[in-house]
């Protein structure tokens, strides 16, 4: 199994090296049935997102029509064709969170960040997505930022939460995507 490599800010990795890793992943999965989704997952792990040249390489490498690769990428919200921010904010809009104000939380987040769902702030700090249920229904509404889940979020608390991340990161600059 090819080592799963996340995006790393500590040392810059050349683009050539990223593509070399992609080729290794494709080579390993080429002959296996059902390879498309795992290869896409790993490619997103390597590049941070799935740019067009990467998807075309996967299409050719796995001998899958490009329309099918694109269809799978577009179907799963986990996949992104745009560079993502350093922190991924997911707003739960499962039933419980929805009825307890999840939608309002999402509106406030959109307004504070100045982006829509699926977009990334211009400083590459935050990306915003919608999710369905973290299993925190008793403490709805919930959002998650990276692996941290925030429960019983109130619209008035949102600025405070975002500020924490900005302060924490002010020491280290946001990741630069290739």
């Amino acid at each position: 199994m090819v080592e799963k490599l996340g995006p790393c800010a500590c040392q810059p990795i050349s683009e050539d090296e990223l593509y070399l890793r992609l080729e290794q992943i494709i080579a390993e999965y080429q002959a296996k049935p059902g390879a498309l989704i795992p290869v896409l997952q790993m490619a997103q792990g390597v590049f941070g997102y799935l740019p067009e040249p990467v998807l075309k390489k996967i299409s050719l490498g796995l001998n899958k029509p490009y329309s099918e690769v694109a269809g799978v990428v577009g179907f799963y919200s986990f996949f992104s064709t745009h560079p993502r921010g350093k922190h991924m904010i997911r707003v739960c809009l499962g039933t419980a969170c929805y009825v307890r104000g999840g939608k309002r939380i999402l509106e406030v987040l959109k307004q504070k960040l100045g982006i829509d769902v699926g977009e990334t702030t211009s400083d590459r700090m935050f990306s915003l997505e919608v999710a369905r249920c973290f299993g925190a229904c008793g403490l709805a509404p919930a959002i998650s930022i990276d692996d941290e889940v925030y429960q019983r979020v109130k619209p008035t608390k949102i600025q405070e939460i975002l500020d924490q991340y900005r302060q924490k990161d002010s020491a280290e600059p946001a990741r630069k995507d290739k």
Binding site: L55, K56, S59, L60, K64, P65, Y66, S67, E68, V69, A70, G71, G74, F75, T81
Partner: protein
């Protein structure tokens, strides 16, 4: 065998039979929409819901296999109302515009809504994503009308192996289309139009060019001529109520004359010409390979089918040298009409306007290719599909069925039976063999009634071998050679054949490929719906047309001999090369 009771009638079916199939065996009709006989069921549309005793929810009968002892009600109140609601929901998202739709009166959704007694839009509201893609010369896709049945996805991926179309996005935003819902012109699409031929609604159609033809006919400075492809005469009648397999050659000619064309010519004439040029090219290649030991690309591939040319350019660019340099009959005709024929009338190429009637959408693309202007202007001006011609005839107020039979005009209207069979899979090969064998041996092709039976029919890849004996002196180096030929129709089958050739199997000398299943008679521009029964009926009609002629071999066409004497000289002459031959360009996949 499994026991099943449908609507209180008992029957026995083989394991693997679906409820839909079992019901049909009993003469019970369950409505369907996404279902086709040919492809594995996807259960996308839910129009075929039925009630199965003991299950909580209704099941899609097209996808549900029968289990032993199953009890089904197909037309209970619950089943009928559920199916009606499914269609009401489809209508809710469907950007209908029935009155102005290309498929008005020929739409499966419209028929279903009518059949189910839907007289109002029950759920008005938001429509699905609207996007009209007119990026290619051949096809128009209207996403607003798409009902996401996925028939086009099946034909594009499974039959043609092109993979241009696939479901994109999810839920209410779902669209069928090229990657990321790009335009068709931005992706690999061979423009064969099989998607348009199988679409149940008005979501994919040919680009309608009828108005351009009316404009030309109204332009007194233009001499407007028309050519009709071999496959039209065996299918056009279907648009006027005739059963598949009805030959309407004479009425078709009469209708075209009534429409106002100055001359009605036959693409078949150019098909005979193609045989002379392409057959000679094959013999030259064989001579170079066998006698002169020159490196030469073999097998030679036919080049009549523009979707196939597009396919090789994209998928197998390294095989382009194997493609015959001959233009397709349509383009040969265009080049001749604007030179040879124009000269006879003392007209300039730009004074002649050439309209083609083709069973094909890719022909629209082909006529626009930059290579196709060797008469100094565009060789073919407008291409209409069989369906467009039928509409034009209706628009002109012509009562097609009461027309007398008329004949094509000279000098580009006479053709042999060999040209007729260009319309179906195996036909170009048979026509070529009829001529090449006789050139080489001086004797007729040694098959009963000149039909090369191993390459007749709907099998995906067909082969035949023919030993050459008794050669005339010019071709004595071919004495004793066993000529191997292969035929494929449908690009998925073509891929199978190419992979076979690449792994050095078959040792073929000549290979015929037609883009569409069954050949041109099953083209993307033919009357809908084409299944194998329809294909076989049209093929049978074409062979009947061939056998009804005394002239059955291309090289015996007297008008063709005249063309060579007066104008071209001989096959592969310099003039032929300039007007009738071309080269194609590698395009790659992405």
């Amino acid at each position: 065998m499994l026991k099943i009771t449908i609507n209180n009638q008992e029957t026995q079916v083989h394991p693997g039979t679906t409820i839909l199939q079992a019901a049909r065996q009993l003469g019970i009709r369950i409505p369907t929409l996404c279902h086709t006989e040919k492809y594995a069921p996807v259960g996308a549309c839910r129009v075929c819901l039925v009630e199965v005793e003991g299950t909580k929810s209704l099941v899609a009968s097209c996808a549900m296999p029968v289990s032993n002892g199953m009890k089904v009600q197909t037309h209970s109140r619950r089943a009928r109302e559920a199916r009606k609601m499914v269609v009401e929901l489809l209508l809710s998202a469907h950007d209908g515009e029935c009155q102005t739709c290309d498929r008005n009166n020929d739409c499966e959704l419209q028929s279903l809504a009518h059949e189910m007694g839907i007289r109002e839009v029950t759920y008005p509201g938001e429509k699905g994503p609207k996007k009209i893609d007119q990026s290619t010369p051949a096809l128009v896709r209207d996403a607003g009308k798409c009902i996401l049945c996925r028939r086009c996805v099946a034909v594009c991926n499974q039959t043609q192996g092109v993979g241009g179309l696939f479901p994109q996005h999810r839920g209410f935003k779902s669209m069928i289309g090229p990657a990321f819902t790009n335009d068709l012109s931005d992706v690999v699409c061979v423009q064969c139009g099989q998607c348009a031929a199988i679409c149940p609604v008005g979501a994919i159609s040919e680009k309608d060019q009828i108005q351009e033809v009316w404009n030309a006919l109204d332009d007194s400075t233009k001499h407007v001529v028309v050519q009709t492809a071999p496959a039209i005469r065996a299918a056009l009648g279907e648009c006027f109520g005739h059963p598949p397999g009805t030959l309407v050659t004479g009425k078709m000619v009469a209708a075209l004359k009534k429409l106002g064309f100055a001359a009605v010519f036959d693409t078949n004439f150019a098909a005979d010409l193609t045989i002379l040029e392409e057959g000679t090219e094959l013999l030259v290649r064989l001579k170079q390979a066998l006698l002169e030991n020159k490196p030469v690309a073999l097998p030679q591939f036919t080049s009549c089918s523009p979707g196939w040319i597009n396919y090789v350019e994209h998928f197998y660019p390294d095989m382009l040298p194997n493609i015959s340099t001959c233009k397709s009959p349509q383009q040969m005709f265009g080049a001749l009409a604007k030179t040879y024929y124009a000269k006879k009338l003392n007209k300039r190429p730009e004074d002649i306007f050439v309209v083609s009637i083709m069973p094909c959408t890719a022909k629209k693309y082909e006529s626009q290719r930059p290579e196709m202007a060797s008469s100094s202007v565009r060789d073919v001006d407008v291409v209409l599909t069989t369906r467009e011609l039928a509409r034009m005839i209706t628009q002109a107020g012509i009562d097609f069925n009461s027309l007398p039979d008329e004949k094509m005009n000279a000098p580009l209207g006479l053709s042999s039976g060999a040209a007729d069979i260009f319309a179906n899979t195996g036909g170009v090969m048979e026509a070529a063999l009829r001529t090449v064998y006789e050139i080489v041996t001086g004797k007729p092709l040694p098959f009963e009634n000149l039909h090369v039976t191993p390459i007749v029919g709907l099998e995906g890849v067909k082969e035949a071998s023919l030993k050459i004996t008794g050669t005339v002196p010019d071709w004595s180096f071919l004495e004793g050679l066993t000529v191997n030929v292969a035929v494929a129709h449908g690009l998925g089958n073509a891929r199978t054949l190419i992979e076979r050739i690449r792994s050095n199997q078959g040792n073929y000398h000549f290979v015929e490929v037609m883009t569409c299943p069954g050949g041109c008679i099953g083209g993307g521009g033919q009357p809908r719906m084409t299944d194998d029964t329809v294909r076989l009926a049209r093929i049978e009609a074409i062979y009947r047309e061939d056998e009804g002629k005394s002239l059955r071999k291309s090289h015996e066409n007297p008008d063709l001999k005249k063309l060579y004497e007066e104008f071209l000289g001989r096959p592969l002459s310099e003039k032929s090369h300039h007007l009738l031959h071309t080269r194609y360009t590698p395009k790659g996949l992405l």
